[in-house]
């Protein structure tokens, strides 16, 4: 009864306040929030996901919707204040607040809900470095101009000079050529190649080498694999049945090809997230949407299939967040993000873009096969209360978090194409920064931001923020060209530094990049190096994956029987072509921290374990490599000539005297043990392929 009266009173007020005095936030509104609301919706408690002490979170709203919508009285807060439902009415379990105060809030909202910037509140999240727009910084001046090859060096050197330090000397030419080959191709240079480069005194020999490497299709294999890590690429469903996905390799080949033709990263993004929605979408653009077909699927689900469908949509949401924005969106599945300004409801607004998708099999003209792709469907989205698909909350429409630039949909209903366009709009603060940081990781071993998976407030901030921003703006300026950026970085003096000089001195973590880093190559590349060096590598591009034999007695799985039948030389293809079974990673790759495709992988671990030693010493593939390399070394020549040849093949350099002595001793020891010559050289090859330097990018 009392409520009904109040409601009537409100109607009267609503009619009357049109001529009300202008409402002032500081004088009229903030005291009401402070007195009535902030106890439950403030810094300590965020009931219903709502905080009214900060400007941003107030307009972000709570789990059931925006609290105030400027210019209208449709906000959830106003509805709740006058609700007749005791379970909904605010303040909960208390008397309603005075009608005059409600009228004030109402008038404030209708007058545009003005909240002055200076009163926005202490909101560290909104002010976080990575969420601010990218400003192209001025290139700093440095004292030692002789070391400047491009802008990168100016930024790095300026920071170093500020700590009375400088760049490490340039690495020798043999190290440089090997570094470039490993970074850009993941394959070793041939001894002839090394000699030619080492002796080429022409001023642009380095540039020519870089351009040649960037133009080779091996570049796409190397850099495509980096992207496949983020795409959690695999060729099976995961979970119990873990059924094979026969045509998943189409997406892998699309990535390699897109990287090789240097498809601009903005187009690369749009194709993968929304290629099917592009006007007049081509077959390739549709195949690109295989990116989000890489989600897991539990085909054995005995209960509600919806559980695993929603898990796949969450995976698409989270993977998009990590791959393009370096955000840990998944933390907002159950409640507002603990560290970053992402509301629970906003998570489901992003989720709504993918919730509409359906699966399709695209028939390919050239054969009877097809490719897994996405197709737009229709499906409404509700917030999952506490993350549970069994507890649907309010309905939400596809949209993006308010702390990022506004989404500008093409029409009333936003879709994945709008989302993709939003991500690659140059005003987006994260996409370009996250992308250039990844380029840096693969060329220095660590990122300018050491946490590539997390650019949020809980990640590690960059020591070179200006350089990161300059690179990000340069990336956009260069038309989002991946190759242009990689070329820029590898041509820098910073990249060409020695990785060993000054290692024992200050900045042992090398966070200022006053030298290069030496680090172990990834699991696939360990294999590629051995196969290539021993002359066994088969460099066929693309097509269905290979299944190297699983060790006998390792697991009695359905896959292995077929695997053992793999014919001939096929099994010596590059690691990127090895079939990825989600519940059964090949042990030789697992030993070297390979990516298993169950989750997006933003950086590979680099562990050192005895199992790695056993793998390289004794695994059939590596034994085969050693035997083959041993035979390669058997060509006519003295012991020393053979050893020199082996050293150059494996390490791209000549042996030092003391190294020769150790190996000559080993030759004679083995001969004394009565070993046949071919076995002796098999043993020498085994040693060379097991040296730390062999699997290290210096």
């Amino acid at each position: 009864m009392r409520l009904a009266l109040l409601a009537m009173f409100m109607v009267v007020l609503l009619g009357s306040h049109a001529v009300a005095e202008p409402v002032d936030f500081a004088r009229d509104v903030r005291p009401i929030f402070a007195k009535r609301c902030v106890g439950c919706h403030g810094p300590k408690k965020h009931e219903g996901g709502l905080r009214l002490d900060l400007r941003r979170t107030t307009f972000q709203g709570g789990d059931s919707g925006p609290a105030f919508v400027p210019g209208t009285s449709t906000g959830e807060a106003l509805k709740r204040l006058v609700s007749k439902d005791e379970k909904l009415r605010m303040p909960l379990h208390e008397e309603p607040i005075p009608a005059k105060e409600i009228a004030t809030l109402q008038a404030w909202a209708e007058q545009g809900a003005k909240w002055p910037e200076e009163l926005a509140g202490q909101d560290p999240a909104a002010n976080h470095w990575a969420f601010r727009s990218i400003q192209r910084p001025a290139i700093p001046t440095v004292s030692n101009r002789s070391r400047l090859r491009n802008a990168i060096d100016a930024f790095v050197l300026a920071r170093l000079e500020a700590t009375s330090s400088t760049l490490a000397p340039e690495a020798d030419r043999r190290t440089l050529v090997r570094r470039l080959y490993l970074d850009l191709h993941g394959l070793p240079p041939s001894p002839g190649e090394i000699d030619r480069f080492a002796q080429d005194a022409s001023p642009n020999s380095y540039e020519r080498l870089v351009d040649r490497l960037l133009a080779s299709p091996h570049f796409g294999e190397r850099w495509g694999r980096h992207w496949l890590d983020l795409a959690r690429f695999a060729e099976s469903d995961g979970y119990e049945n873990d059924n094979l996905r026969q045509n998943a390799w189409r997406f892998r080949d699309w990535v390699i090809e897109a990287v090789n033709r240097d498809q601009p990263f903005n187009q690369f993004t749009i194709d993968q997230l929304a290629g099917d929605l592009r006007p007049g979408a081509t077959l390739e653009q549709k195949v690109a949407t295989g990116f989000h077909r890489n989600t897991l699927w539990n085909s054995a689900a005995s209960g509600d299939k919806e559980e695993f469908r929603t898990l796949a949509i969450k995976d698409r949401t989270d993977t998009t967040g990590m791959a393009w924005m370096g955000l840990t969106l998944g933390c907002a599945q159950c409640h507002g993000h603990k560290y970053d300004p992402i509301a629970h409801r906003e998570y489901y607004q992003l989720y709504a873009f993918f919730n509409k998708t359906d699966h399709d099999e695209l028939k390919l003209g050239d054969s009877k096969t097809s490719a897994p792709v996405l197709r737009e469907g229709t499906r409404p989205t509700r917030v999952h209360t506490r993350g549970s698909f069994l507890q649907p909350g309010v309905e939400v429409l596809p949209s993006t978090p308010v702390f990022l630039p506004p989404l500008r949909p093409r029409d009333a209903k936003a879709d994945r194409l709008d989302l993709a366009n939003w991500l690659v709009n140059p005003s987006h603060p994260l996409t370009a920064r996250v992308a250039v940081n990844r380029f840096w990781i693969h060329l220095f071993g660590t990122g300018l931001v050491p946490t590539p998976e997390n650019f949020g407030t809980n990640g590690t901030p960059p020591k070179h923020p200006e350089l990161l921003d300059w690179l990000a703006s340069e990336f956009v300026r260069q038309g989002w060209s991946r190759k242009a950026m990689i070329r820029l970085i590898v041509l820098s003096e910073t990249y060409r530094q020695s990785s060993v000089a000054g290692m024992k001195e200050t900045d042992s973590a090398n966070s200022l990049f006053g030298r290069q880093n030496r680090f172990r190559v990834e699991a696939e590349i360990v294999r590629d190096l051995s196969l290539s060096t021993s002359g066994l590598l088969v460099t066929t591009f693309g097509g269905p994956s290979i299944v190297p034999a699983f060790p006998e007695g390792f697991l009695d799985q359905k896959f292995t029987a077929e695997a053992l039948k793999m014919p001939g030389a096929d099994r010596h293809r590059r690691g990127i072509y090895i079939h990825v079974q989600r519940t059964l990673q090949h042990p030789t790759l697992a030993a070297f921290d390979g990516a298993d495709g169950n989750q997006p992988c933003a950086r590979r671990d680099r562990s050192t374990t005895p199992l790695q030693a056993l793998t390289l010493l004794n695994d059939p593939v590596y034994v085969e490599c050693a035997r083959s390399l041993g035979n390669r070394l058997l060509s006519p020549g003295t012991t020393e000539e053979r050893l020199r040849h082996g050293f150059e093949l494996c390490l791209s350099r000549s042996p030092k005297n003391r190294e020769l002595v150790v190996l000559k001793d080993l030759v004679s020891t083995q001969l004394k043990l009565g070993m046949k010559e071919e076995v002796v050289w098999f043993g020498i090859a085994r040693v060379l392929l097991n040296l730390e330097e062999f699997t290290t990018r210096e």
């Binding site: 209960g303 898990l311 949020g456 009695d556 169950n598 562990s607 005895p610």
Partner: protein
């Protein structure tokens, strides 16, 4: 100084004894604080040093083995009452299926009088050492998600398993063997390597499979062309050349690499020695029995005796969707004697107090059948209430924790979620589950996800 000694060692080749090499490497380990398996201090006093986790793959039936429900007899063949249906999700079966009483009797065992099936008399005889938890629950009711939940605390793939967290938190006492060993029997769990995977921890924390046939660890055997002497000579050359590189680069990562090769070498002899059961007495071998599973449990004891942190032993075929009455006795016979022998053996050697033995499944089974013909019926998956048991490692034996309703359908007392179980497991090892974290994707990830409470009743007062 150390370096000089290494060079000395390198020059003298394989002439030095293994002991000297081991001492030298122990010193290296002290230097190499990057060694991921070095022994680390606990958060507080541990009662368990090692764990043997017996995973009964497929889902043991609590109402047939661990949780006696006389009310099932009254409802046998009838539909389950309405009151049990609300809010319960089912897997493959439906509420049209009838309730089924257990085809087997329960008995009281031990001084404590713990009730367990007549099918497990020898395990029952150890009841006074066993803490039986009848109130386990979680929400994953398919095999792979259930196995991943049991192993990692969450249903979705991608996280480290229990043994990985233990070696990450504590290291391993024996560096001639892996810190985390996996012994598989019969078909693998459905989630395969995710049940012993390292998730986002480094590969150093992977469970390492010991194989029943051939060399126990993958790639353990040196190629047949090389004699032990030539193999060692090659390793010495690798070591010396790596040491040269260490000197030239100043990169301490090379120390880990050098240590890893020496560990691999010692593993090559330690693992076959471990797998060789010829030194075990006839009495011990007979106590365990002849089966592959029995051999696994004996190996498990030998592993933890040597300081290995965690051993996972699987036993297959508990997924009885049909013919429970015909199949269960035989399967129980396969585990009853070996598990009882393990408990007695550990106790006899004074190892039970420091070894946590856990026997668990990914979930339990339904009180209603799957299939209408009661003569051939089985039971469906049931994660809402089921039983596991623990013994040793500081667990107070001879007690039952938690209870379920009259059909073993829902937990009514002392619920133990999987996260609670994991919190307790870590606690026994002296680790605070909230402090054992690894920064992953912006969060301090834990074995217990965002929940978990230690089950105090399980611990000794």
């Amino acid at each position: 100084m150390l370096h000089d000694r290494r060079q000395f060692l390198a020059k003298t080749g394989g002439g030095l004894g293994l002991a000297a090499l081991a001492t030298l490497l122990a010193e290296d380990r002290l230097l190499a604080d990057t060694d991921p398996l070095r022994v680390r201090p606990t958060h507080f006093k541990a009662t368990a040093k090692s764990g043997i986790f017996i995973f009964l793959v497929g889902g043991t039936s609590q109402v047939d083995l661990f949780d006696s429900k006389p009310a099932l007899a009254k409802l046998h063949g009838k539909p389950i009452p309405e009151s049990f249906r609300k809010g319960v999700r089912l897997g493959q079966t439906t509420f049209a299926a009838p309730v089924m009483q257990s085809p087997f009797m329960f008995r009281r065992y031990g001084q404590c009088g713990m009730e367990m099936s007549e099918l497990l008399p020898q395990i029952g005889a150890c009841a006074d050492d066993i803490a039986l938890v009848r109130s386990m629950h979680h929400a994953a009711f398919d095999h792979a998600p259930g196995e991943i939940m049991l192993s990692t605390g969450k249903e979705q793939p991608g996280r480290p398993t229990m043994g990985s967290w233990l070696t990450y938190g504590l290291g391993s006492e024996n560096r001639d063997l892996p810190g985390y060993v996996v012994l598989l029997n019969g078909r693998s769990p459905k989630a395969r390597s995710l049940v012993w995977g390292n998730g986002f921890l480094s590969a150093s924390h992977q469970g390492v499979i010991f194989r029943g046939k051939g060399s126990p660890i993958l790639d353990l055997a040196t190629p047949k062309e090389f004699s032990p002497e030539s193999h060692r000579a090659q390793l010495d050359a690798i070591k010396t050349l790596n040491e040269f590189r260490r000197e030239e680069t100043g990169d301490s990562k090379l120390d880990s690499q050098i240590a890893a090769y020496e560990l691999a070498y010692r593993m090559q002899s330690a693992a076959p020695e471990l797998a060789d059961l010829s030194k075990e007495t006839k009495a011990t071998k007979e106590a365990y029995g002849e089966s592959g599973f029995a051999r696994s449990l004996l190996l498990a004891r030998r592993l933890i005796e040597r300081g290995v942190r965690h051993v996972l032993v699987t036993h297959p075929e508990w997924d009885l969707h049909e013919k429970i009455n015909q199949s269960l006795p035989g399967i129980c016979r396969e585990i009853d004697q070996p598990i009882a022998a393990l408990l007695k053996d550990l106790k006899g050697r004074g190892l039970l107090d420091s070894t946590l033995v856990t026997c668990a499944s990914e979930f339990g089974r339904t009180a209603i059948t799957q299939g209408k013909d009661l003569a051939t019926a089985g039971r469906d998956h049931h994660p809402h209430a089921y039983s596991i048991w623990l013994a040793g490692g500081g667990v107070r034996g001879g007690q039952v924790i938690g209870a379920t309703d009259e059909l073993g359908w829902k937990v009514t007392e002392d619920p133990v979620h999987m996260n609670d179980f994991h919190a307790t497991l870590l606690h026994l090892f002296g680790l605070d589950h909230k402090k054992l974290t690894f920064r992953h994707q912006g969060l301090d990830a834990r074995l217990t996800d965002v929940a978990g409470t230690v089950v105090k009743k399980l611990l000794h007062a």
